[in-house]
Symmetry: D2
Subunit: 359 residues, 4 copies
């Protein structure tokens, strides 16, 4: 497959460039008969869209979803859900200065190398605008998961060196949507917002991490060997623009522990087999064990900055480039719904896969 | 697909339990006419097999590969390569004490939850013995890649808190196979070996990291959006037993940098477009840019330890378990060829995918 | 996968119901840099659309394609081509009488059984309207194939008992588009048209066969074992609405021959290895041999007729149904471009697959 | 995928050449906990093996299956079932005369064209020996289907011009395994056997048809649009060696009927919705409707004959070839279990796919 499809039984195929007429997708595999709350779908898109606060890109895109099929009288029909999201505020001419120059740490050079040509308007297919399609599809997946009481919660855990210090189990997740940076700790949120604002004024950009928790996932999801639940989650996260790393459960810090410290003892809690600790991150042998699934995703600083940078043009001649247009100084606040959406697609897919294996 | 298959155009399907008659696989998609050096294939397996040094499991498995198809007169025929590796030193009775008890941080409980039953002999399908199949298939992939001069080099970068401090570009990679821990820094290697030995004597286990570099990968490999080269590498790594995290290029540390520090300026070096730095890790927009690809993989401490641990049995009653049998106190030295093999499968698959897209 | 996707490397994902807002698709895998003649794409759709002649449905659908991505400055970019085709002349109320009644030999009952609900407006997803998406995608595939000089020619070979008697090698294929029934023999075409007209006046319907020839296919396309070229062609044809059978080369008639009569002797013709006869239909062992590929597809009579028929409603009570709305008395003339489109998708996919296997 | 894999959720990957060490496969997706009767598996293989009667090839292959994984204490574990079947009576030297010559209507020339080389011993991968793997996998699928009371019955319907005249609903299917040609009509069976014997003595070969009926398939199996149940059955059949055509339900003969004759009226039979006739062949809109599924498969005469035939060698020079070795004068009797096996794989796969779509 040429790489624009995600999922086996709940499967999203995506299309669209940042500066074409529209982006969109086809979501296959939603079971029939599920009520779809369109306002919820749109709200998820609104959480990702530009212009929602002072610390993100000011591009004006309503990101209104137009669902073309697969819903009849408010319910899924079991047939594919086709949808489009128009590109309205394109301003391609903001990018005319890029036509012949490779932007550092963007995909300009690699697309040129791969395809022998590229749509230079805002990155074309490589633009993060494509993630709106994921958020729309993920919203459907969240609705499916809600039938099983599974919920997904992501938040910004760090921006540069400013990081939440509390364990995720100590956080009040209802705080996340109450601040513009989507940090689960309101005090840290203020620091992050101030820092992003200062970075924006410098014309620079900054990276950070998103943490995600999945609650009420039943034991048994995930496949042995290659399609381990965390491997599919990892691929999902690493497929998001600007992501540089993924860790789940104890993660990289777990490499510093001994087995006697790291193993999660099984205990019987009210006639339910649980683990006393959760270094496993809710997944053992690639299969969910019923505990909370949690993981962290690293995002690099945004490549587009409002400062002069050295580069070359397509002929290899030295050039200087400086960002124009409307860009995010930090992608983290808008990455939160994307992380959730990709998580939802993975979980819902594995839910359907698991069901098919039960005689 | 039920999860035992990896790759699109170069595709490995795997089978086998640790204590069944044999494990094996089918590798589809090797182009026809490639000379296969069987000694090289076997040598790769020997790098992974138990009993190769004092710091790994002493299970005696020759891991001899028996290739059943797809090779004719020393060359690939273009048809699938079926192969098996016998399980010879099984000692299933080492595991009879596990029949009714869930080993902490193993897959016993999750397999039971998923399948309603499990093969309790040494983990069955969840055992890392399965990775021998990956190493065999990866050896074929390495041969294919060698036709394009692409080479893959992994080493143990840290064991617990003992870590190489040098940048990978400063290391002498020819040192890796000269010490039993497969560390690229001989001085650090000695410390790691001594530490693993002390951990082994305690009956405990320890984790660490493997780093991997891919050299001479041409620009253009990787697909847009979901099948980004690093996303497929990440999934490949996260599908290996005991892996908890993956980062490429600047990774998690890159989240602390500003865009102005992190961006890789393009330069013209002897009429070749290159980057002045390589925070991108050789991949931009999910597509290789011709620079070195590098990434790091986190392995947790081995779950089986020779110490008493609290757990429960299948009825939820408290139990105490203590490892028996022959186990690795640290998987890192044997993980090196596995990381290389999975990298080779990803690269070779994307090489074939890229070729199919060129008119 | 949930069944709305076709092809491996050139892959079409389809969505849409007959009476929703639009139908459409995503075509992945078109190599970059191919000039796209939009007038050709639209012309292919015009060959399938209703209302094009007196012998087909009079539904008024312009079937104008709107391409939303994947084309930049007139050329493919290598990224997915998203497109939609609006449903304009829907008249859903023509179907309100069907809401609770199962139309005989339609998919009403089976969709209800599968999904527990259905979109009763004109068949919803089961409507042949969906084939417009295939024709659009097939037009792109034809453009790709034209770069390799491969051409595809289908025609109506029989309508009921009225059949072309000549061998396909004796026909003048330039006649096909010169008559409204798309028969390659103008004399037989007149008889077919008169017969379809009489059937239409009776309120009845009629079946027939389409034959297809693929010229200039190079030797080597097709995969061993399961994905034989003719197996993929057969699946492609059998996936078209109303198709009941597929045969290639000598087909069912070939079962009456002895091996000594049926074998195609190899000959050297101007330094090219060819076959003296072509009972093989251009495919041997599932792989093209360079001769003409030809096959025949059987279409049943249209299920919707303007006559009273016995049936039951969803409660199992007896009911009588009579077709309303605008229907084809014979699908064959409009099936011709669909057969070509699906053939083009199969050939182009196998062309890309073959390319990926050549080191 | 490179073409050696069949099925989505119940998935067979196959390997092996006719004259290599062994053939085999990996069957993924069998749900856990199903008791496996190994004698039944072997018996299915015995129905396909050579040497079972005077009218088939006298090659002596016990075709003993060796199951290497996926079964524990007599039950499936949910993990992949790896199995091999040794090639014991290979006599490669019977084929040494073929090394440089293309056998007419075999795959010699096309494999050479595709791969630039070939394993000339008995066809290598293109040999029908590969179908033993399908029969083994199909036997597992039959066991799965038996849990749902679904049964599959194939028989030889015609050999050359000798054909059963009765409708399949009038046949006593218990007769099939009582004669060596596997014809459901004992009187016709005698004629077929005598005819095959005379053809064998002439050194010639003959084709024919196999018919198959699937009983007790519940309504609802099959996917819309591309993966219609009959499309997947058709591909499955067309992937079998020597198959030239497939038709289901009314098939090609149905093209001669009018809609008013062909439509299957729905009736209420004992509170069950059924059809009064079954021209639909148990499938409507690509989805099973609960009636008997039936179809017919056309097999060409065997290409290998014991008569001199004109051909060319790899240099294009004229040559004469004459079959040696042990060949079937008619593949039909041995094709019966292959048709059943492929049918079972399709049905079981769609059964699992259907289950995954039910919330």
């Amino acid at each position: 497959m040429p790489g624009n499809q995600f999922g086996q039984l709940l499967s999203l195929t995506s299309f669209g460039e940042s500066h074409g007429e529209a982006i969109g997708g086809i979501l296959e595999g939603m079971p029939a008969g599920i009520s779809i709350d369109l306002a919820f779908i749109q709200n998820e898109l609104d959480r990702r869209k530009p212009g929602q606060s002072a610390i993100v890109s000011q591009r004006k895109e309503p990101d209104s979803i137009n669902i073309l099929s697969g819903i009849f009288e408010g319910k899924t029909t079991g047939t594919p859900i086709g949808f489009i999201i128009a590109n309205e505020d394109q301003r391609s001419k903001d990018y005319s200065h890029n036509e012949d120059v490779f932007r550092p740490s963007h995909a300009d050079y690699t697309y040129q190398a791969k395809y022998g040509m590229r749509d230079h308007r805002g990155g074309g297919r490589s633009s993060a605008r494509e993630t709106a399609v994921r958020v729309a599809a993920g919203a459907f997946a969240k609705i499916l998961l809600s039938h099983y009481n599974i919920s997904i919660h992501a938040w910004v855990n760090s921006v540069g060196a400013i990081s939440i210090e509390k364990k995720h189990t100590e956080l009040d997740l209802s705080q996340i949507e109450k601040n513009s940076v989507r940090c689960a700790d309101p005090v840290i949120a203020e620091k992050m917002i101030a820092y992003i604002d200062s970075i924006r004024k410098q014309g620079d950009s900054v990276g950070g991490t998103v943490r995600c928790v999945i609650k009420n996932c039943p034991a048994g999801l995930g496949e042995p060997v290659f399609d381990r639940l965390h491997a599919d989650l990892g691929k999902a996260m690493l497929s998001i623009n600007a992501v540089k790393g993924f860790e789940y459960g104890s993660g990289f810090a777990g490499t510093l522990l001994k087995g006697s410290e790291h193993n999660d003892a099984f205990v019987n809690e009210n006639e339910k087999i649980r683990t006393a600790t959760n270094f496993s991150g809710g997944i053992q042998g690639g299969i969910s064990n019923g505990e909370e699934i949690y993981f962290t995703v690293a995002f690099k600083p945004v490549a587009t900055i409002m400062m002069e940078q050295d580069t070359v043009n397509a002929s290899g001649e030295p050039a200087v480039i400086k960002g124009k247009g409307r860009h995010d100084p930090c992608v983290l606040p808008r990455a939160v719904p994307i992380v959730e959406a990709m998580s939802a697609l993975v979980l819902a897919d594995h839910l359907l896969r698991h069901r098919s294996s039960q005689i």
